[in-house]
């Protein structure tokens, strides 16, 4: 076979993979830009949509822009609190759905699916309508944002944990029961540890959703400013480069958590085999 034909065959064999990698590259270009812009020195220029020179200034003074770090702190506290509540009550619901009998399962499934399938603007405006009509219109802030975030995180937690529980081998639980573990012991020593990766994944997803949410938050925040709202406000005038520092840090932390979890899984799998 001529080298040219061989090359042609190689290209054909790898065409789909190559196109897939191109699509992935498309997904990563903007992230690379965020990282790059965190080192940008805009100088005195008002046009911040261009790279003008390298500087470490943004990383040395991340809290330079007034109000930004306060907004980040607020987003982190709302994110942690909403994640905690959504993960606990969402996981309980997932256990209930997978492991227990009851009627009305179809209705429950529909109500869980709907928040994931509704446009955020509709959910956000309905919630605002509720707050306004119940007299909370003047008290929008931390707690109304918290309520909204738990609401839209719940469905994602339930679906994630339920998928993990459904994939579990129930022979393990049966084995524990055969070895005279009572229900409580079986749950805490077998079922819960097996479900834990799913629960942690759901928590990570909830925090990202909450930290990143803009549309629903913006409608229900009143005068309170979360980090995405800060970015939005700044985008009308000119974004301080430090927002890219926060974006980069969040990205690195999340990737570290995901990769750490993956490595941990592999190590455990190897320990089991060896």
């Amino acid at each position: 076979m001529s080298p040219l034909a061989r090359a042609g065959r190689w290209v054909r064999g790898h065409l789909v993979l190559g196109l897939g990698v191109l699509v992935l590259a498309y997904m990563f270009v903007p992230i690379a830009v965020v990282v790059l812009m965190s080192f940008n020195d805009p100088g005195k220029s008002k046009n911040v949509y261009a790279f003008r020179g390298f500087t470490l200034h943004n990383w040395e003074h991340p809290c330079g822009p007034a109000g930004m770090c306060h907004a980040v702190g607020l987003s982190v506290s709302i994110g942690l609190l909403a994640t905690l509540v959504a993960t606990i009550i969402g996981s309980m619901a997932a256990f209930g759905l997978v492991r227990h009998e009851f009627s009305g399962r179809g209705l429950a499934n529909t109500i869980i699916f709907l928040p994931m399938a509704s446009p955020e603007i509709v959910m956000g405006s309905s919630l605002l309508a509720l707050f306004v009509s119940t007299g909370f219109g003047g008290r929008l802030g931390f707690w109304t944002i918290f309520v909204a975030h738990v609401m839209f995180c719940l469905s994602f937690v339930i679906v994630t944990v339920r998928a993990r529980l459904a994939g579990l081998d129930d022979n393990l639980e049966q084995a524990a029961m055969d070895l005279y573990a009572d229900e409580r012991q079986t749950f805490w020593r077998v079922t819960f540890p097996l479900a834990l990766p799913g629960i942690l994944g759901a928590a990570l997803l909830s925090f990202s959703l909450s930290f990143d949410d803009f549309i629903i938050t913006n409608l229900n925040a009143g005068q309170t400013t979360t980090f995405p709202m800060f970015v939005w406000g700044a985008a009308q005038r000119g974004v301080p480069m430090q927002v890219n520092v926060i974006g980069t840090v969040m990205f690195v932390i999340a990737i570290a958590i995901v990769l750490g979890g993956e490595l941990n899984n592999r190590r455990r799998a190897r320990a089991l085999v060896g």
Binding site: V16, L19, G20, V21, V23, L24, M27, F28, P30, I31, V33, V34, M37, A50, I89, M92, A93, G96, L97, V98, R99, H100, E101, F102, R105, G106, F113, P115, M116, S118, P119, E120, I121, V122, S125, S126, L127, A129, V132, S133, V150, M151, A163, A166, G167, D170, T186, T191, F211, F214, I215, V231, W232, V243, I246, T248, F251, I255, L259, E262
Partner: protein
């Protein structure tokens, strides 16, 4: 969601019911159900009442429900261009997402080998930087004197003073970019379950790769296609961030209108009506679509 829930349901049906009284299930479900009931279901009622507010109400004088159905007529009359534009942009973006998302999902499911898990992590990685920051990055990438625009002008794809930013093209590209992972993940979940031997069998029976794809792989991936297109189209139709940051006022979508009616002009009556109209159109389209494609296994 079909992809996730089909095995879930099988497990629900066959799972050994681990103990507890027959009320345990309800107790476990109660807090989540109450939260979703109070803050997801009840607000729809509030939205319906807001859409029937007296249009002359204001923050100072208060809002009264006087069943003013005219709010719906006002909303359609004043804002039908934005409404239609939203559906058109979201539809186009969903189609593009389906094509390029299918390629990526297919590559991960069948061609990636031991890199599969890494590639999946890379698909969800963009979720971990802010949605707004990534959209602002596009503003830089597509900027008037930027690399992309100059290259395209040089290649005469764009005219001499052609631009990308503040055009409908930038808005649709932004929507495609932002919602692509919602398309890829369900597609992957469906494709991954396909038994490779079926495709081989088609080949053994002298089907060309194209025929094998359209007669075997594509039909088997339909649940993922349905879930992916819905999870892309629905949020895209309500999105206004891309239109605001990457478009000009000529690309305003219905989300922009609802948001500014609620927050700036505090015209809750029209905003509520418009929001409800959007929801009704979406539910209508979804029902027709699901009936056409013939998947019940959605929830």
């Amino acid at each position: 969601m079909a992809a996730l829930t089909a095995p879930a349901r099988a497990a629900e049906d066959s799972a050994k019911r681990v103990g507890g009284s027959r009320w345990t299930g309800y107790w476990l479900l109660a807090p989540g159900a109450i939260w979703l009931g109070l803050f997801f279901v009840v607000p729809f009622y509030s939205l319906v009442s807001a859409s029937l507010f007296d249009p002359n109400g204001s923050v100072l004088t208060g809002y009264k429900v006087n069943y003013h159905v005219g709010n719906f007529a006002t909303a359609v009359k004043d804002y039908h261009p934005e409404l239609l534009r939203s559906l058109w942009y979201a539809g186009l973006a969903t189609l593009i997402c389906l094509v390029i998302g299918y390629v990526l999902a297919y590559a991960i499911a069948f061609k990636a080998g031991r890199w599969r898990n890494l590639l999946l992590v890379l698909v969800i990685a963009p979720f971990f930087t802010s949605f707004l920051l990534r959209t602002l990055s596009w503003k830089l990438i597509l900027a008037d004197h930027g690399f992309v625009v100059s290259t395209l002008q040089h290649l005469h794809v764009l005219g001499h003073d052609g631009r990308l930013l503040n055009t409908w093209l930038a808005v649709v590209a932004g929507i495609v970019y932002n919602f692509l992972p919602f398309m890829v993940l369900p597609l992957y979940a469906s494709l991954e379950k396909i038994d490779g031997r079926l495709v081989e069998a088609a080949g053994d029976l002298y089907a060309s790769p194209f025929t094998a794809f359209f007669k075997v792989t594509w039909p088997l991936s339909l649940p993922g296609v349905v879930a992916g297109t819905l999870l892309t189209f629905i949020p895209a139709a309500g999105d206004y961030i891309n239109a605001q940051l990457l478009g000009s006022p000529g690309e305003r979508m219905v989300g922009n209108v609802i948001q500014s009616l609620f927050t700036s002009s505090q015209d809750y009556a029209t905003a509520g009506a418009l929001s409800l109209i959007l929801m009704i159109i979406i539910i209508g389209m979804v029902l027709v679509y699901i009936r056409k494609v013939g998947t019940e296994d959605l929830v």
